[in-house]
Symmetry: D2
């Protein structure tokens, strides 16, 4: 039964596994000081056009988020996040476990606006309250929506004006970069963010994220923080080899574009069948609204998550396409839907 549940259901792109296999007998240094990590970091610096960015490879998204955020903050400093932000909802209080409050902002579409941030900053005005210091955004958001370049620039200005750091969770950054409706490119993130990460786990790697630190003041001693949090892999090369492969040609962007394209095909097909979307997505996650009877029927043939119950009759489901989804899987879903 084909699963549209998420984009980490598969094992890894063949080119990644080939690279891992072919290099297996080469001895290297450990802890991300090997030639593969160095080369991968250089390739990424080229893509993002930031020759002095620090690039670190870490085994997963939550580990990346908690290591970076706790390294960047002093004890009394706090994070501002959308209420739907992954660190606020779905990382088991990992940031709070390092001692920092995460202050949630309500947002229907998962995005933060400068005026919301400024309100929070204004409210936190004295030492009886935490001091907001880092704005956490996800690009694309957990709802599949996208910040435009203009919106990111406005957040940057807001952060500059309020002594805030801007951190972007790019677990699905590839999807943002290759979306039809997105207007950002790699180099924008190096300019606009203090730090961000480029997700590998959800875009062809067997696992791994590339954290990019652009703000010079955040770079010192970062490997200490990684080691302390268990985020400095002994065989760091396994991460380096993967990111080298993803970035030595257009593989990273191509895989993301493929996933977006099939999600778009799926979305258009569902709309053509007369159903509605919670909102129109331009990334690899889509959110159709179906009657319960249709959902029950679809569950006989496909796996996916129920997202939200709208009323007694209708619910939203989430369908995710990945680099490894086939056009045939999408068309089979649309056929099944058509026959209901």
């Amino acid at each position: 039964m084909y699963s549209f549940r998420n984009d980490y259901s598969d094992g890894g792109h063949p080119a990644i596994l080939k690279a891992l296999t072919e290099t297996a007998n080469q001895q290297t240094d450990g802890y991300c000081e090997d030639r593969f990590c160095l080369e991968a970091a250089n390739l990424i610096r080229g893509y993002i056009n930031a020759q002095d960015a620090a690039v670190h490879f870490i085994a997963g998204g939550t580990l990346t988020n908690l290591t970076a955020i706790s390294a960047f903050l002093r004890p009394h400093e706090a994070v501002i996040s959308a209420e739907s932000g992954h660190i606020y909802v779905h990382e088991t209080g990992s940031v709070e476990a390092t001692g920092h409050k995460v202050f949630p902002i309500q947002s229907a579409n998962g995005k933060l606006r400068p005026e919301q941030i400024e309100t929070v900053v204004a409210e936190h005005h004295f030492e009886h309250m935490v001091k907001p210091r880092l704005v956490y955004i996800s690009q694309p958001t957990e709802m599949g929506t996208l910040y435009s370049k203009g919106e990111l620039s406005a957040l940057r200005t807001c952060c500059d004006n309020n002594n805030l750091l801007l951190f972007a969770d790019g677990a699905r950054l590839g999807s943002a970069l290759t979306s039809n409706s997105g207007d950002t490119e790699f180099s924008d993130y190096a300019v606009l963010c203090d730090a961000f990460y480029i997700g590998g786990t959800k875009n062809g790697a067997i696992f791994g994220e590339a954290l990019v630190i652009c703000n010079n003041e955040l770079k010192a001693d970062f490997r200490y923080h990684m080691k302390q949090k268990g985020a400095l892999a002994a065989k760091g090369r396994i991460l380096g080899i993967q990111f080298k492969r993803l970035f030595e040609d257009e593989l990273y962007l191509n895989l993301a574009a493929h996933a977006n394209m099939l999600a778009d095909r799926l979305q258009r097909g569902i709309l053509d069948s007369g159903f509605e979307m919670l909102f129109k997505s331009s990334t690899n996650q889509i959110f159709p609204i179906f009657p319960e009877s249709v959902i029950v029927e679809l569950e006989k043939y496909f796996q996916f998550y129920r997202w939200e119950k709208l009323d007694d009759e209708k619910s939203v489901i989430r369908l995710v396409c990945s680099w490894n989804t086939d056009k045939k899987d999408v068309d089979r879903f649309l056929d099944t839907l058509g026959k209901l």
Copy 2:
């Protein structure tokens, strides 16, 4: 230049990479709830003869140590470790970063004795001091020495008598299990420890450790702790597939036995050449003593760590053999040494 620096210089055993490659297109659930993780856990439970043990797969040793130890302790409880214990020396204060003191015990050979533990417990007698609660040992130790079954049993009794948990860091557990001079087997650890981990990173895996929790009282909600610490891999299958492969036949033990065997060959050869050892090792790490002039010469042909300066003339070096070391590499080292 061949490196005897450590046992994580290579990329991964061919059988591991083959298994990863062959399964890459199979969709599974995430977060270690896939069939590979389930099967690997079952295989391990069979090996250790503990059908109700909890088995969790985590991406590295430091991450395993800090997640387990912080999950097992209340805030005022502390860890007892040898001064040479990996968590005390070489994990950047990762356990303290979760809030717990690690109390060091001096030990020339890296091993703890019950009477040392009891002295520490006796000294910590009231609420102005931390409460010792967990004994951390490494098997084999960071010095390559081994606890015998009798010694482990004595530690278990000591822990039982003092309300202490016994946790074994098994980053190189395979080496302990297959050592000529060791007398423990897998099932002993399930009986004698409250929890321990079976290291994969240093024994053929591309990365990954299998944490085994034997004490029922430590099992509840452990996946919450994993997620909070960034230790619950989205593509947990990558860990499960590897451990399934390592334990579906004798691969795990065979790889460790190979490394031990070559280290023994190397040690005997060096002794035969008239040099001494810091102490005789029966694991895959050996500690020969050489004059400076010999070391300088050897460094032209091989990589290894200088371990300790003994006097103006002599130093100890560390040589590590791995599952991927070849007899030819060992013999070439001995040849080179013979010609000096």
Copy 3:
């Protein structure tokens, strides 16, 4: 200029200072193991009718909250609080600094309802989210509102049904107990809460809170947690002497009743002058609504906090009466208001 800003503007009730002075030359043990602390704890156990309650004396409210809450929770467990809860807003992330998320619930009147708690519990259903474990309430709330006995009982039932602990911040508990509209008495808290504290700082003491732990499972090793957090005073007697004095007759309740009575007189006077209240208070904090011009005028003669701007014309101010407020201060305020 008289200040209605808060109830900790004065130094301490004369009887308290007399008791401290008279006992100054008596030698005692340290760390709350002296006879004064023991006697004060016994007096409190009598008042709350709970002979096996653990009673601990701590130098302030934030220190009490963070010590108790962090002692009661395992790392992945979280707190549920009203968005206006003191720990959520005004303690600089002290609970998060011990590693625990505080989940906020919106509440116009500062009170939590069982169905709100149950919604939060239902949403936090798996290991990717924190596990709600402790409900934090303030009695009276930060808005001066009160939980009735029935409401507290309903929260208790809700907590029992959902494996939650109920913790009451009683910084102004005296005000709740002696309010005209309150129907709870001391013994109710011992029955309905797992732990709560009786505030001294805001009710006649020079400083100090009495934490009462009713749930047996939370009592073990609590003094370790106190010491670790800096909450075990070397001269614990200073706390014990004060609470002994407050509870050896009705002083504690009488002081709170006095503050409530004057706040009520102030509230009635303001209402009689034709102004409105944000809501009618029955504790020692009242929240009148005045035009800006009136506020500016009042500020010439009295100190108080502006609470909230309602519109361009009107704002809410907060007026607090204390055990040391005099009827003349209140009448002078009303006179001044009458003349405007």
Copy 4:
């Protein structure tokens, strides 16, 4: 039965209690922003001859240590302390509970030497180990010994050379300043330390310590850290009034000198009776060596702590004189000893 157990057995000096009583009806701002705290801070700045030092008042020593140290360090940074240092032994892991390793150095007399610190710094050379950043000393030490001005200067130079902060725990600083054999004065600490605290609890106050931060880089946002750790007292004035009184004349130094003088009288008397000292003390703690039979007899008339068992026959006891010890108490002890 008179107690020589410690210097916090009494309630507080009469002048302190008088000052608290006389000011009780004056209304002030809260949280150490009142006129008493401001005046006390100014008086202290005068004494230490450092007009731009930040002075904060905190309710106890452990709370002061943990608040200051955790505020000064980044997560991967560690503390160096003598093995007998109060934070290492007797504060229930309070510093580790804020996430920082405390690295112990063996020291027979409780003092640290620069070469010991430099060895620790040299050993901690890379990111797999914590980064030593703060040297914690106690003046006088927990053994009653003293750093000379020359020794402190040498530590300062060592810290400067190794990018280390120097923090002095002055729980008994008055005893150091007024010791016959000491050669430091108040202003030396402002010059030589990055931060230190002036203990009140053990020198006449009912409780309270004055933390002095000399290093400009450590001053920012310190009140946030205080509030977060529960160290910002609502009635901060209670601390301010006491320190104002202690420093508005020579009271602080006089009380300490008194305690030292009586301890010296006691020490000389015991030596004259033919007994030995563990080492000669010049502070208010002395460490005589007595046969078991003598100790048992003395325990019938006086309270004191047994410090250390030397052999089957002899033990060390600790006798502490305080500002409130009377010459008659000392002479009675000597009489009793003389009669044995």
